[in-house]
C-alpha cells in the first residue's frame, strides 16, 4: 500500500497560477502524485519563449538579436524620435517647417515625404515559436504587449531640426 505522495509544481513568480507552457503529458507535475517508478521515470519540458525587440542601436547597418546592444530591455530602452516636427519635400529642397504653424508629422498615419522618412527607424520583433498544442493565438495567457511611451524629455536637435 503506497502512502507516499509528492507535490511538484511550477508557478509564474508574479501570480498564483501554474506556469502555462509546460509539456507534461505523463502528469509528472501536480499535487498529491503517488511516488512510484512509473511516474518518476517520466520527464516534462518547460518552454520559456523569448520575446524581444531590437533596433540598429550600434549603427552597423543590421538589426541583430544576438547583439546585446541592439536588443532593447527594461534597463536599455530604445529611445526614438516622437516625430513631432513638420517636414516637406523629397530632395535637396526639402526643409523643415515651423511645427507651431503646421500639423506635426506624427498626426498622420502615412509617411508624407522623403524628409519625413528620415525620422523613422527599423524595429524588429521576435517571438519564439511554441509547440502547436499551446495554441498561441488563442491562449489568453500568451500575449505580446508593446509599450511605446514618450515619457522622456522632448529634445530637439538644434542643428537640423529633423
Amino acid at each position: 500500500m503506497y502512502t507516499a505522495k509528492y507535490n511538484a509544481r511550477v508557478f509564474a513568480a508574479s501570480g498564483n497560477g501554474d506556469y502555462p507552457f509546460l509539456s507534461d503529458s505523463n502528469h509528472l507535475l501536480g499535487s498529491n502524485r503517488p511516488v512510484v517508478l512509473e511516474w518518476l521515470s517520466n520527464s516534462a519540458t518547460l518552454y520559456l519563449p523569448d520575446m524581444a525587440i531590437a533596433s540598429d542601436v550600434d549603427r552597423d547597418g543590421s538589426v541583430s538579436f544576438t547583439n546585446r546592444i541592439d536588443r532593447t530591455s527594461t534597463n536599455a530602452p530604445f529611445v526614438f524620435w516622437v516625430n513631432d516636427d513638420s517636414d516637406l519635400g523629397n530632395d535637396d529642397t526639402a526643409h523643415d517647417r515651423d511645427p507651431a504653424q503646421y500639423q506635426a508629422d506624427s498626426a498622420s498615419d502615412n509617411i508624407g515625404n522623403l524628409r519625413d522618412s528620415e525620422d523613422f527607424a527599423r524595429l524588429q520583433f521576435r517571438v519564439d515559436q511554441l509547440p502547436s498544442r499551446f495554441q498561441i493565438m488563442t491562449n489568453p495567457n500568451y500575449r505580446t504587449i508593446v509599450y511605446l511611451t514618450n515619457v522622456l524629455e522632448r529634445r530637439r536637435c538644434g542643428c537640423s531640426g529633423r
Partner: protein, 108 residues
C-alpha cells in the same frame, strides 16, 4: 554616431556582431519562476520499516530538494529560480532515498 565618426575612431561597422555571453549581465534575459515542492506519507516498506522521503526536482541546472515528509508534513517548499529566455528546460523528479521506490505493479 555617424559613419564618419565611426571611421575616425577606427570602428568597422561591417564587422559581425559578437555572440552574447552567458550568464548575462542583463537581468531582463531571465525570467523568475516559482517552484513548489512537498511530500506527504512514507515510501514503501524496506526491512519492515517505512521511511520518510523527499522529492528532488532537476530543472536545467537548478537542483531543488523538498524537506523530509516527516518534518514538513505536506508543506510545500517554494523557491524562486531564474531561467533564461528562449530556452527549453527538461524537468525530472527523483525520490530520496531512491532505493525504496517501487513500481505500481509491486505490492507490499
Amino acid at each position: 554616431m555617424g559613419l564618419a565618426e565611426e571611421l575616425q575612431i577606427g570602428c568597422n561597422p561591417g564587422v559581425a556582431d559578437s555572440p552574447p555571453v552567458y550568464p548575462s549581465p542583463d537581468p531582463s534575459d531571465y525570467v523568475s519562476l516559482k517552484v513548489g515542492l512537498g511530500t506527504t506519507g512514507k515510501i514503501a516498506f524496506l526491512n519492515d520499516c517505512a521511511e520518510c522521503h523527499a522529492v528532488r526536482m532537476v530543472l536545467g541546472t537548478n537542483v531543488l530538494t523538498s524537506q523530509q515528509s516527516l518534518r514538513y508534513h505536506g508543506n510545500d517548499l517554494d523557491r524562486l529560480v531564474n531561467l533564461r529566455r528562449g530556452t527549453n528546460y527538461p524537468i525530472r523528479l527523483y525520490c530520496l532515498p531512491p532505493t525504496n521506490v517501487l513500481s505500481i505493479a509491486q505490492t507490499i
